[in-house]
């Protein structure tokens, strides 16, 4: 049997979306630091504004440097296209606002990033969009929460901060049985470790800031359009399947078919909400994506070393990482993540909140800050930072205890990471 004639993943991480610049021969992706683009003619300009022809007209809508990153991420995830945004949060908002209208309802995992929880739980209701949060490990809970006005199912492939492993195929089946799309935030996984579209997800969202960028120098997000969901099947998604006055009555499903979502997200979402990525940030993030396969392999290798060390340490009361046999999703992770279930883990320190605080203050190599997925090892106490807006009840429901410490394992020598954490753990036990 012949093999498909495609470049493989590692090659696409370096090349997808780019050809050497035809004018200058530039091998690296140039930073197109421009707001706008000269039209060939009045007719050309009219065609661009009216979606008759493709091309760049204004950097809020598209930009050649950003387009390389978009196409590269679409290629790595196996989607039809992608739209990059100013941040991961802008990406979630763009996806939601492209699909949903006032009166619509979302069923979401309760174990998601605090910022995403805020958006769905506190902010979107102001615009008439409500969310029911459910246990991501329970497909029946997703099904039970679906109402006639539900239009989206949302979860994270690896939950934050408990690293709950989403059974993407099972939740996609629930969504599809109800005529709904499944959107997943796959920031912690990256397409190197798992590609949700291959398992049935319809939309993949990333904070590109994290492992995809990998160096902690630029904020960005992306919405990847899987292109397999039939938005026109039953009239539930009028933003995509009904004529839109914003472009003289265009119906996105009719004109663009599998690309309807990404075309509307760009043509309306970036035009009207304006949450675009800057070309300079796209350039920085592309440098990270080029080495994604190499970095993720090392992130995972280091994580396994850290889990081993923490497991043996007297000051650690529990560890939550799917590679650890105690994790409830250990077997599922082994099936879905043969190359490892990411480099984020959480653990508890004996002695509760106060011991956790002493641990954080004693780390030296690991940086205490509000980010994950950097090349450097990062540590945070979610209860007082990323998830602080959540009520105690919501915090408990999300599986976040007072002593929980979240660790993002970096690319340093694993012995140095383990030495630093071990030293801080010892300090945490000294009252």
């Amino acid at each position: 049997m012949v093999e498909p004639d495609h470049h493989r993943f590692d090659t696409r991480a370096l090349h997808a979306g780019q050809r050497p610049d035809p004018t200058t021969g530039s091998r690296a992706v140039p930073i197109h630091q421009t707001t706008s683009y000269v039209f060939d003619s009045v007719d050309h300009a009219a065609g661009l504004f009216n979606l008759e022809v493709s091309g760049h007209l204004y950097t809020r809508i598209s930009n050649p440097t950003v387009a390389v990153l978009e196409e590269r991420l679409a290629s790595l995830e196996g989607g039809v296209g992608a739209v990059c945004t100013a941040s991961g949060q802008a990406a979630l908002h763009l996806a939601a606002a492209t699909i949903l209208s006032a009166g619509d309802h979302v069923v979401a995992s309760r174990n998601i990033y605090g910022g995403s929880h805020n958006l769905l739980n506190l902010t979107m209701p102001r615009f008439g969009i409500t969310t029911t949060f459910v246990d991501p490990r329970d497909p029946d809970a997703f099904a039970a929460a679906i109402r006639p006005e539900t239009r989206l199912v949302y979860a994270e492939t690896l939950g934050n901060p408990g690293i709950e492993v989403l059974d993407v195929a099972a939740i996609a089946a629930v969504a599809h049985d109800h005529g709904l799309p499944l959107a997943v935030d796959s920031t912690f996984a990256t397409p190197y470790l798992m590609r949700p579209i291959e398992h049935g997800a319809d939309i993949v969202i990333h904070s590109v800031t994290k492992f995809l960028g990998g160096h902690g120098v630029a904020i960005g997000g992306v919405v990847v359009d899987g292109g397999r969901f039939d938005w026109a099947a039953d009239g539930k998604f009028p933003t995509l399947s009904e004529p839109y006055d914003g472009y003289h009555g265009i119906t996105f499903t009719e004109e663009f078919g599998t690309a309807a979502l990404s075309m509307r997200a760009r043509a309306e979402g970036l035009r009207d909400f304006g949450g675009c990525m800057s070309p300079a940030n796209a350039f920085y993030l592309l440098q990270g994506v080029e080495t994604l396969p190499l970095r993720m392999a090392r992130h995972v290798e280091n994580t396994h070393r850290v889990v081993e060390m923490l497991d043996a340490h007297d000051a650690v009361s529990w560890i939550s990482h799917p590679s650890h046999p105690s994790h409830p999703d250990h077997e599922l992770a082994a099936r879905l993540y043969p190359n490892g279930a990411g480099a984020i883990l959480s653990f508890g320190v004996h002695g509760g909140r106060e011991a956790g605080r002493r641990f954080i203050e004693a780390v030296g190599l690991a940086s205490h800050l509000a980010n994950v997925g950097d090349a450097k090892t990062l540590v945070i106490h979610p209860g007082s930072t990323t998830h602080q807006q959540m009520s105690n009840e919501d915090l408990a429901a999300a599986g976040i205890s007072e002593e929980l410490v979240r660790l993002s394992v970096g690319l340093e020598d694993p012995d140095d990471i383990c030495d630093d954490l071990s030293r801080a753990l010892r300090a945490s036990q000294k009252a």
Partner: protein, 270 residues
């Protein structure tokens, strides 16, 4: 838009411009016909542009494809009769623009139904279209490998890297998704009837309307040399060769294809 042929619903894109709008009756009717396992959206770079440039543009979903009712039809001749009926229903004669299997359909329709066809643009075709047995086997089994193989072969080497004319879109990903989402059995049938069709030479000999051939120099599915017998027969046809296109010029070099279509219509209507 939706309309009926033989009691079955046909779905088509019109660039969101109604073909029966006031003053449109005298504009040329342009029917865009997709290839095996595809649908109307392969023409998204041309349909809306044509609709806004003095044409009644209709990119159809063939029976059983996209949003059109099935069943899919089982021969190029049946599809040719069907597209001629579409032309008549919509107020033809029509200018038929066909890609790959759609080019066979347009060619056969022009030969069989000269009164219904004003001209043809034939894109990405050879005098014959043999199908790789592994592709046919994968399609017969509704194996996703078929979409992977087709997406890999239908685009030129530049598209393997990307830099899509449409910002942010993956051409390989889009082609794969269109094929993957076609109903089970449709790609298998389409490929089989492409391989079985041996009437291109006779149809070209019988052609009386203006013709343009648009051929990608990097086409691996129907290499440039495979079209030469048709070029030889269609001695009055305009031949447009695109330097960086593979088998899908309307996606790979959309500006050049729009230019070729505009030239073809101008020549035909002058």
């Amino acid at each position: 838009m939706r309309f009926q042929i033989d009691g079955r619903t046909v779905h088509a894109a019109t660039g969101a411009v109604a073909i029966d709008r006031d003053g449109a009756a005298d504009l040329p009717l342009v029917l865009l016909v997709h290839g095996a396992g595809m649908d109307r959206t392969v023409w998204s770079q041309q349909t809306r542009w044509l609709a806004h440039h003095d044409a009644r543009a209709v990119a159809v979903d063939l029976p059983g494809h996209g949003g059109s009712d099935g069943p899919a039809l089982g021969s190029i001749a049946d599809l040719a009769d069907w597209i001629a009926a579409v032309a008549d229903e919509l107020g033809g004669p029509a200018h038929l623009i066909g890609h790959s299997m759609g080019a066979f359909i347009a060619l056969e329709a022009a030969a069989r139904h000269a009164d219904s066809v004003a001209s043809v643009v034939l894109m990405g075709l050879g005098a014959a279209m043999p199908v790789h047995p592994d592709l046919q086997a994968a399609a017969d089994a509704d194996d996703p490998l078929a979409a992977d193989l087709m997406a890999g072969w239908m685009h030129g080497p530049d598209q393997k890297f990307g830099f899509n004319p449409t910002p942010g879109m993956s051409m390989m990903g889009t082609s794969r998704a269109v094929i993957e989402t076609s109903p089970d059995g449709v790609l298998s049938l389409d490929l089989a009837l492409c391989a079985a069709y041996d009437g291109a030479g006779d149809a070209a000999n019988a052609l009386v309307c203006p013709a343009t051939l648009v051929l990608g120099r990097l086409d691996r599915m129907t290499p440039r040399r495979a079209a030469q017998p048709l070029v030889d027969v269609l001695e009055h046809a305009t031949v447009v060769e695109l330097a960086t296109s593979g088998h899908a010029p309307m996606m790979e070099e959309p500006d050049a294809v729009r230019y070729a279509l505009a030239g073809h219509l101008a020549r035909t209507l002058s």
